[in-house]
């Protein structure tokens, strides 16, 4: 009687694959949802290429960029204002987010506290989380619309909008950073009787501190990009100048303003990346 040779065991591939029927089903659902989204958004590549003519006319109208002294001066003012809005928005966001993040940081309990204690601990935690989610889930431009109505045109409502959105983002990122630090030093402090506050101050905060600065730099980058958009609803910055130039069909000035924005964003990106590299250890 002949036996088929047994299949030798094989090392599985490095690329992860669905291992369970549920995982396979989820992959199918994502593929189907993508197809439905093509249909729902009327996505049409032919139409996109058919619109290339007007785009080309717009792009060719931008050249050569307007490099007159007056344009360069107003571009510089716009960039400086955008820079100030983004920086102040980030700093105010950090200041407001920090205490909220401390409250919103959870810690797995090793002991089962009384119901009243658990409720008293849960209320500020969930309230802080809810507040941060509201701040974060409303985009900057919506906050800017609200504050332009309330405070009028200019960089002030834009800065407030950036600060509020940054508070939500920082609060969530800081609290997650605090929760995800290596647990052993925190456990060691708990084992020798440290209170929750002491564990937070001496165990979690020092370990998360480097990450905070890195996240701060990243959100500042995001604020620079967001601040250019806020001008489109009258909330100051270089976006406001771009909008006015677009409405006046002054595409050469638009080109100068757009180039200045791109250079600023790239510069901030480089500085931020270098700073974050130095902070990583």
């Amino acid at each position: 009687m002949a036996y088929a040779p047994a299949e030798p065991p094989r090392v599985p591939a490095a690329l992860p694959r669905p291992r369970t029927p549920v995982a396979s089903l989820l992959v199918l659902v994502v593929i189907a949802a993508t197809g439905v989204s093509f249909y729902g958004t009327e996505f049409d590549l032919i139409e996109l290429f058919a619109g290339a003519g007007p785009i080309e006319r717009f792009a060719s109208g931008m050249f050569p960029p307007d490099l007159s002294a007056a344009t360069l001066r107003s571009t510089g003012r716009g960039i400086f204002e955008t820079f100030q809005m983004s920086l102040l928005g980030a700093v105010l966001g950090i200041v407001a987010a920090f205490p909220l993040a401390l409250i919103a940081t959870g810690e797995a309990a090793t002991t089962r506290a009384a119901l009243r204690t658990r409720v008293l601990q849960a209320i500020p935690y969930h309230a802080a989380r809810l507040g941060l989610n509201v701040f974060r889930s409303v985009p900057e431009i919506l906050w800017a619309l609200v504050f332009v109505v309330a405070l009028g045109l200019g960089p002030f409502p834009g800065t407030v909008a950036l600060a509020i959105h940054s508070t939500g983002v920082f609060g969530k990122l800081f609290s997650e950073q605090l929760e995800s630090v290596p647990a052993r030093p925190v456990e060691a402090l708990r084992a020798i009787g440290a209170t929750r506050t002491q564990r937070l101050l001496f165990g979690r905060l020092p370990q998360a501190g480097g990450g905070f600065v890195s996240l701060g730099m990243y959100q500042w980058e995001c604020n620079i990009r967001a601040a250019t958009i806020l001008g489109f609803v009258g909330a100051g910055g270089i976006g406001q100048q771009i909008l006015i130039s677009m409405q006046l069909f002054d595409y050469q000035k638009v080109a100068t303003l757009a180039l200045a924005t791109i250079i600023t964003v790239l510069a901030v990106d480089r500085v931020s990346a270098a700073a974050r590299r130095r902070l990583s250890y």
Partner: protein, 323 residues
């Protein structure tokens, strides 16, 4: 199985009013009265993870001032035992008394007071890497402060008295010059000595050292154990889990765990090949037992020295004294 009477030395150390009252109430309940004089008493303790019993009906008493080596294969329950003794893990059944007080029944404030009397040292040091060696050592004392005082210490650094104790403790472990260095700049052995210095400042009544020499070279390991022994005195209880049976043999009492239960509890003379086989063989891991020097004998005194160094090394001015 040999099971010696646990050594009790001296009157109960001052546990602080909360722990003392807990001790009194425990005695009034009439449960485990005999254990009230013990540093540690576990009675029928079960700890289970998803149906797997990490500790299985474990009972153990350790007297004040005893030095006990805990041995056993990986997964035998050594780390779980230590986690139970700091209430980092809940128990499914049984009682755990630390200095006579029921650890598992303690209210949060009492629990913190009890934990401040317990010093821990891990294989992975348990230090905060971003803080200086000095601040890590100071944490041994700062956990006893109010939150406001702790915040002040975070911003301004510890007070003059704490700083002096920190410097003295670092001097004692030979690291005074590394006071301001981040612990990440120190070698593994130096980090472990910083952890020992933290114990010196904390002055606990019970020291739990979980594989303290597993991550360092043998010479550094000896130095770390030396420092641990130096800080322990007749009022400080020392429980050390070890993979190195040769080192464990030098302790006056050895407890061997297997499958979450005590399979040996006695003086090191009782450790023979059959016992080691019972502890390690079926678990699939052989004990680490380097050849002893010719003629070397396990010490049999109650204050023996695992490292072949002086049994009662000179006490330093800032040596460990339970508060």
């Amino acid at each position: 199985m040999a099971k010696p009477a646990s050594a009790t030395a001296g009157a109960p150390a001052g546990v602080g009013s909360t722990a003392e009252s807990a001790e009194r109430s425990d005695a009034a309940r009439g449960g485990l009265e005999a254990a009230a004089g013990q540093a540690v008493a576990l009675e029928g303790v079960d700890v289970a993870f998803d149906g797997f019993k990490a500790l299985n009906d474990l009972s153990l008493e350790v007297g004040r001032g005893e030095r006990v080596a805990i041995i056993g294969a990986s997964g035998a329950g050594k780390s779980t035992l230590f986690n139970v003794l700091t209430r980092a893990l809940p128990v499914a059944a049984g009682r755990v008394l630390v200095e006579g007080a029921d650890l598992m029944a303690a209210a949060p404030e009492q629990l913190r007071a009890m934990r401040r009397r317990i010093g821990v040292i891990y294989q992975s040091y348990g230090l905060v890497p971003q803080l200086s060696a000095g601040m890590n050592v100071a944490l041994g004392e700062l956990t006893g402060l109010s939150n406001r005082a702790a915040l002040r210490a975070l911003v301004r650094g510890p007070g003059a008295e704490t700083s002096a104790r920190v410097v003295a403790a670092l001097e004692q472990v030979g690291l005074a010059e590394r006071l301001g260095d981040r612990v990440t700049e120190l070698s593994g052995g130096q980090q472990q000595r910083v952890a020992v210095a933290r114990l010196l400042v904390q002055q606990p009544a019970l020291v739990l050292a979980d594989e303290p020499v597993a991550a360092v070279d043998p010479v550094t390991g000896k130095r770390v154990l030396h420092a641990l022994l130096e800080l322990a005195d007749e009022r400080t209880t020392l429980l050390v889990s070890l993979h190195d049976v040769a080192l464990a043999r030098r302790f006056p009492r050895v407890v061997a765990l297997r499958d979450g239960s005590v399979v040996f509890d006695g003086p090191p003379e009782g450790i023979d090949d059959a016992m080691l086989e019972a502890v390690y063989d079926e678990a699939g891991s052989a004990p680490f037992e380097p050849d002893l020097e010719p003629g070397a004998q396990p010490a049999a005194t109650s204050r023996c020295d695992p490292l072949g160094i002086a049994l009662n090394p000179p006490r330093h001015q800032h040596g460990l004294r339970p508060r």
